[in-house]
């Protein structure tokens, strides 16, 4: 008989996602007893210890992205659920997606605590009420005993014996009102036990508007505000933490409910403080976890009332080594470190700044990479420091593609910010902003975003510092942010933090948009501030940064000048070649006849709409024609027209606006023609629909439009606002519909793609 086969070398013991899911934490989950976990578990132990006094408390778990907050929550929940049954608390776990306290309450009452569950809890209270009434008599003591032990259903007992049910339901209402300290819950909870009222009661408990039967009973407000939701969560805690029971509620990702960008109202903070008091005064434990700013936003009073704040510390090298050993053991490979060595793990921890998620992800890639390099003899596989650097760079490269840029675009659009891609502050220096967000009235004011992959070596760091300096030198009112898509060596964080407006943003798929949004808002607020003192502080800080980097900038400038010369020469050659090609293409195009348009009406309408909106904004052609028409007629009019046009032409912004308009027009026509060409070459499949290859071609055309369009600073068309025939005619100017036009151009490729596919589907 053969032995059970061990794990294959290709079985990777490390999880690629490295995102902890508290609900899935089990006895088999690899978990290192870090000081944070040990402390949290000991708090849970003292909470679970039998006590007649209120043993409730609140734990706040805080830490940066990927440090293991969710893992810690999972460990705490698992520990509580593993307690002996008689001490085991009722546990509820809420995951705060971008949400409000109302959403959290709905998650608690609809998902975590279901209707049967809450009904059963109320039934237990009713059983107590009946047992109290029946327990004093020898005639009914046996029934009382069965009610108390949960072996008899109080509603059934009351019905079978024709007891004075309404009398006991009234007592139940009074008891629940006293326990929950809430009149509305006192009224509604007993109704869950009455068959014909239960639906209405549950609806209200689930956050809906009260049914008229509840309004008749004085319950006329839905649980739909932050304050009421928090109060209701306290009520649930009280309901579940009596009768010698304990209740534990854990909320992960609190920063998605409360953060610098989601500031709670004063009333919500008061209600939250009350919730904490309720937990502390009951047999209930509240566990809150999230990025540190949720605590900051809840304020000092709330922080003082929190029993314990646990800061999730970074993993040490020893923790990481233990983690690797346990992970290998978990898949049956024994407590081995191979293919890692203690030194490579220490290097890995240093590069990742002890961030658990990054360590685990890199371990996953490094393990696979090491095994791939020694396919014949896995025992010879080794993870070296060089391999760590290579894999880290590769991973950063894999991520720094379109989706990071997509996320940046989403954030900028959501904040209503205009931007330019690859904007050079000064063509003579390395002052390229990957995204330039002009902001404020001052010329050159705004925020520059710089993207980079990994920052592993001093050379990587130096290049970025000098780029930050060039970017900041050009204007007074300017913030510069660095986004690191890959790994960032912890040694360089502070240096980069000094050079840029704040510490670099490390890209994290799960949290990037929220972080960027919050940082951008903060930085733009700094540009907004008219507070002289604050502005002075910021300028002083900037001056310090600039001075600290002067020396490096000079060295860089020298290098740049040399590099620029050769680069300029290359560019000039390239431009000359392209001009030659363009000239010959134009000549060819002039002789070639444009193919006739064969677009279906639905597709054509999209282009026509975009074209007419653009025409509405860019009226240069019409304006100039009006000027010439006026010149041919009344001489007084002609003078006025010339004066008006000349006034407009004095603005240098007009020319870039005209360029943007011309480029948009060309882009639109080219896109339309390419779609037209797609129809000409498209061949329906046997089923009537397009072949995958045609669909791919269509997608590619739409992507091409998006790629070019992304670079066009649409907002510059605002500068064409005054340049219209009305101006020449001396009429009132109509406001340009720039927002509407931008929306149409933003959505154009997606709408065209959908319309094209729909048109070919209809043609089957």
């Amino acid at each position: 008989m053969s032995e059970h086969p061990g794990p294959a070398p290709s079985d990777n013991p490390f999880l690629m996602a490295a995102v902890a899911k508290p609900r899935e934490f089990s006895a088999g989950t690899v978990s290192i007893p870090t000081p944070s976990i040990t402390e949290a578990v000991s708090i849970v132990d003292s909470f679970l210890r039998p006590s007649t006094l209120p043993s409730g408390t609140v734990i706040a778990i805080v830490g940066e992205y990927g440090t293991g907050k969710s893992h810690l929550v999972g460990a705490v929940l698992h520990h509580a659920l593993s307690a002996p049954e008689r001490w085991r608390p009722r546990v509820a776990f809420l995951e705060a997606r971008p949400a409000t306290f109302v959403d959290l309450y709905k998650q608690l009452i609809g998902t975590e605590l279901r209707r049967d569950d809450v009904c059963a809890r109320v039934r237990e209270f009713y059983a107590d009420v009946l047992a109290d009434a029946l327990g004093e008599s020898e005639l009914t003591a046996g029934i009382a005993h069965r009610l108390r032990s949960g072996d008899a259903d109080p509603v059934e007992v009351s019905d079978r014996l024709n007891l004075m049910g309404s009398k006991y339901l009234t007592r139940l209402r009074e008891r629940l009102e006293a326990v929950t300290r809430n009149r509305a819950f006192g009224i509604v909870l007993p109704l869950l036990l009455r068959h014909d009222f239960a639906d209405a009661a549950w609806e209200w408990l689930s956050g809906h508007h009260p049914d008229p039967v509840l309004v008749d009973r004085g319950v006329d407000t839905p649980i739909a505000t932050e304050e009421l939701a928090l109060e209701a969560m306290g009520v649930i805690a009280l309901l579940y933490s009596t009768r010698e029971r304990k209740f534990m509620l854990a909320i992960d990702e609190m920063n998605k409910v409360v953060s610098a960008t989601r500031k709670p109202t004063e009333n919500a903070v008061d209600a939250f403080e009350k919730l904490i008091r309720v937990f502390a005064g009951a047999q209930a434990l509240l566990v809150l976890a999230g990025l540190p700013d949720y605590l900051d936003e809840l304020g000092g009073t709330v922080q003082q009332r929190i029993g314990r704040t646990i800061l999730v510390s970074p993993l040490t090298a020893d923790h990481a080594i233990e983690y690797i050993r346990q992970s290998q053991e978990a898949i049956g490979r024994g407590r081995v470190l191979h293919p890692f060595t203690e030194d490579t793990v220490r290097y890995l921890v240093k590069l990742t700044d002890g961030n658990a998620r990054r360590i685990i992800r890199l371990c996953n890639h490094l393990y696979r990479h090491a095994m791939d390099l020694s396919p014949r003899d896995p025992s010879r596989a080794r993870v070296s420091e060089a391999m760590v650097r290579k894999v880290a760079r590769d991973q950063a490269g894999a991520r720094s593609t379109d989706h990071v840029r997509n996320e940046i675009r989403q954030v900028l659009a959501a904040l209503g910010l205009n931007y330019e891609r690859d904007h050079w502050m000064d063509p003579q220096t390395d002052s390229r902003a990957d995204y330039w967000v002009p902001y404020g009235d001052e010329e050159g004011a705004g925020c520059a975003l710089v993207l980079t992959d990994t920052v592993l070596t001093q050379a990587d760091c130096d290049a970025l510092v000098s780029r930050a300096t060039f970017l900041q030198t050009a204007a007074e009112q300017r913030q510069v942010l660095l986004i690191v898509v890959g790994l960032l060596n912890a040694d360089f964080v502070s240096e980069l933090g000094e050079a840029f407006s704040e510490e670099p943003i490390s890209y994290d798929h799960w949290t990037f948009t929220e972080t960027l949004s919050s940082v951008l808002e903060r930085q733009l607020r700094l540009l907004d501030r008219d507070d002289a003192l604050a502005l002075g502080e910021e300028r002083f800080r900037r001056l310090g940064r600039q001075q600290a980097n002067t020396q490096r900038m000079l060295e860089q400038a020298l290098k740049s000048l040399t590099a620029m010369r050769s680069s300029s020469e290359r560019s000039l050659g390239q431009i000359q070649r392209e001009l030659t090609e363009l000239g010959s293409a134009d000549r060819t195009a002039a002789v070639a006849e444009s193919p006739p348009l064969r677009l279906p009406p639905s597709v054509m309408a999209l282009f026509t709409t975009a074209q007419s909106l653009l025409d509405g904004l860019d009226q240069v052609d019409a304006t100039l024609r009006t000027v010439f028409a006026a010149a041919a007629g009344d001489s007084a009019n002609a003078i006025d027209a010339r004066v008006a046009v000349r006034a407009q032409l004095r603005s240098p912004h007009l020319f870039s606006a005209v360029g943007v308009g011309a480029l948009l027009r060309t882009l639109l026509i080219t896109f339309r023609d390419s779609i037209n060409e797609w129809y000409r070459s498209y061949v329906p499949s046997s089923s009537g629909g397009p072949y995958p290859v045609d669909k791919d071609r269509l997608s590619a055309l739409c992507r091409a439009y998006d790629t070019v369009y992304e670079y066009i600073p649409f907002y510059r068309l605002e500068d064409l606002d005054g340049f219209s025939p009305q101006l020449v005619d001396g009429n009132v100017l109509l406001p340009a519909q720039i927002g509407e036009a931008q929306e149409v151009f933003n959505l154009l490729s997606g709408q065209v793609q959908a319309a094209v596919l729909e048109s070919v589907a209809e043609g089957r």
Binding site: A133, L134, E136, S137, E138, L139, T140, G142, I143, R146, D151, A152, V157, R160, L161, N162, L163, M164, G165, S166, K167, T170, R194, D196, F197, A200, D211, P212, V213, V215, D216, R217
Partner: protein, 305 residues
């Protein structure tokens, strides 16, 4: 036959209803203050002919099974008898206790009662074509006023309403009490109705509302009830015997409503009679005694299985 199957012929114990079956009148037993409450009602009504001038609201309060429905049925029967006896016009007793559900909103419940009343009066050809548009789909306050003034004439309607949980509903009926209309309302919300009573009284312009209260059984009520049912058992069969001491001990052991005791004894006798039928033994009423422990055992079984 089970002596506690009252009213006879139904599925089990239920409220007495002498206005539909006059034979029920003799089954009333003076327990849990019901007789006192009935006497209080008669005193409060006094000269029944005044109802033709002001109408009346009567509210019976008490926990489940304390005899509110039976009491109000008896009150209705009394009014019917007295008013008909005066020979000045007819008296209709209309029961709408099942017109709606407990879980309907007050508005739905009140409309349901009103619609049922209109239907009843239409069936009796009391509503003329010109009344219809005045009565259908209008504010209930005006509807009841119109009925009172222009439709009922010499007729008094005694309306037995669905059981009320919300005190505001009682107050609404107080507002709609007009000549020739008597509302008989029952409620289990004793404290709420008591607390709301001043408003209810103020709403009844022109007449004083009557509040009747029934409660739990007194120590001797149980024996009175058992005796009364034994007396009415006319089938000649010897029934199991329950002593006065036993029934006093049961009533002392815990608080009982008449409904609960009625239900207990009915169920116990059903079980004993079924056993007898199965064993073929008729036994002896004297030796076949229902003891305190028989009742305790039965009570436990009934409550838990």
């Amino acid at each position: 036959m089970n002596p506690y199957l009252v009213p006879a012929g139904g599925d089990g114990p239920g409220p007495l209803c002498p206005h539909t079956d006059p034979a029920h009148e003799r089954y009333y037993v003076p327990v849990d203050h019901t007789l006192a409450a009935f006497e209080q009602f008669k005193d409060a009504i006094g000269d029944a002919s005044l109802i033709r001038v002001t109408g009346r609201l009567v509210v019976a309060v008490g926990w489940d099974g304390c005899g509110k429905t039976s009491l109000l049925n008896r009150c209705a029967t009394h009014l019917k008898t007295v008013l008909r006896g005066q020979g000045k016009g007819q008296c209709l007793v209309l029961s709408f206790v099942d017109a709606c559900r407990d879980s309907d909103s007050v508005e739905v419940r009140e409309n349901a009662v009103y619609e049922c009343l209109i239907d009843e009066l239409e069936n009796r050809d009391m509503i003329k074509p010109h009344h219809r548009e005045k009565l259908r789909g209008r504010d209930l306050k005006l509807g009841y006023l119109y009925l009172s003034k222009f439709v009922l004439g010499d007729t008094v309607v005694v309306l037995l309403l669905p059981r009320v949980e919300i005190e505001q509903e009682v107050e609404d009926y107080a507002h709609w009490t007009h000549k020739n209309i008597v509302f008989l309302v029952e409620s289990r919300q004793i404290e709420a109705v008591r607390a709301h009573w001043p408003k209810i009284r103020d709403a009844c312009r022109g007449s004083t509302p009557v509040q009747l209260e029934v409660g739990k059984l007194e120590p001797d009520d149980g024996w009175a009830f058992v005796q009364a049912r034994n007396c009415h058992s006319a089938d000649g069969e010897k029934h199991p015997f329950v002593s006065q001491e036993t029934i006093r001990a049961v009533i002392r052991a815990k608080e009982f409503s008449i409904g609960e005791l009625h239900n207990l004894l009915y169920g116990l006798f059903e079980e004993i009679l079924a056993e007898r039928a199965n064993s073929g033994s008729l036994g002896s009423g004297l030796t076949d005694e229902v003891t305190y422990s028989t009742i305790t055992d039965f009570y436990f079984r009934r409550g838990t299985t």
